[in-house]
Symmetry: C2
Subunit: 213 residues, 2 copies
């Protein structure tokens, strides 16, 4: 029996992605909160888990792994008996990965709190910056999803995938920054479709033990 | 016989990564430059290839793919007879992916020219911003590589991998921003080791048909 520990933070997008992925695959895990407001992510104990000083980190049988999309692939590789996050077909997988990267490298790094904190802008300026990069990425993502018919509403094709696991936390962040979601009907439909799954609902930030409401 | 077209730009990090990957795998391709200085990446013709308005895009038998790391996986999937970019072993693969993401989502998005252009900072301030994020990411990456012994000098283990294909362009960018590389001996060793390969040398920005020297 393998042991899985998730080091995360309730509001972190990347932690949220991994909570969704673990729940979707039905993998039991221990959740260990890392308090970003107290600077715990910069402690040597946490840097040994994640050298970037970010969350999440996942420990599987004592070995540590970082980066949410790398963790997705790890989970598909270690738990082939559980529902897949990525297709095994190379072209479809590449399209799923590209949509995930639109969020994970095209949007999220530019609007996370540590980057916003370094911007020489006032609160309104920081919000406009975040809105700009979320809208730019969502415009691209909407186009990516429009090219992928779905009878069910999931992001790419008829089944839940890694793309949905990335969309849900990014919409959560977009709402915090008051982004107008009207131009992105396909993304919003995927968000709502995924949100109806118990695995996704249970991964919500407000339902974590470290949530400060 | 499959046909492969790379839409790229000589100085783009992500284009450079994909040139290295294609050459390493020995995949013949047609190179179509997209002139970022003329704004060609924002044309509808290019947005149809890459909805983010970024480079690269790769066209395989008429189908378009974006995001360098997704393209790496596509190439491994479509050309299993060529040298691999990622290990097939899930844990090793996850560590390689995490190191690639340290560069592709942890560093590059924060110091690319379109983001620097939006920063309300003067030239010196933009340079300091880029140096900060490159140094932060390299500090983490150095630690990731130190944990992976290599007899040959490559980034992770004894063979060239996707990690090396990400390191070479990121060092190229670091040099443009005058980043002090002394604290990162393991990264520099991987850069120099990879640079001795003909596949890597031939992918250098200055050797592309659109290079403006």
């Amino acid at each position: 029996m393998s042991s899985t520990i998730l080091y995360g933070y309730w509001r972190s997008s990347a932690s949220y992605r991994v909570r969704i992925a673990l729940a979707w695959k039905g993998i039991a895990y221990t959740y260990v909160p890392v308090n970003l407001l107290d600077g715990e992510q910069r402690s040597e104990a946490h840097l040994a888990r994640n050298p970037m000083g970010y969350v999440p980190a996942v420990e599987v049988d004592g070995e540590l792994f970082t980066e949410s999309l790398a963790i997705f692939e790890l989970l598909d590789g270690l738990h082939p008996e559980t529902p897949r996050l990525f297709s095994a077909e190379p072209r479809r997988r590449a399209r799923q990965l590209a949509a995930c990267h639109t969020i994970a490298s095209g949007i999220q790094p530019l609007q996370n709190l540590s980057v916003l904190g370094k911007l020489p802008l006032d609160a309104e300026g920081k919000k406009a910056w975040a809105q700009h990069f979320i809208s730019h990425g969502f415009t691209a993502l909407e186009r990516q999803l429009q090219a992928e018919p779905s009878a069910t509403g999931f992001a790419m094709g008829d089944a839940f995938s890694a793309v949905d696991a990335c969309i849900v936390p990014q919409i959560y962040a977009a709402k915090r920054f008051d982004v107008d979601l009207a131009p992105y009907p396909r993304i919003v439909r995927a968000y709502e479709t995924a949100g109806s799954l118990a695995a996704v609902a249970g991964a919500a930030p407000e339902r974590q033990i470290d949530a400060k409401l």
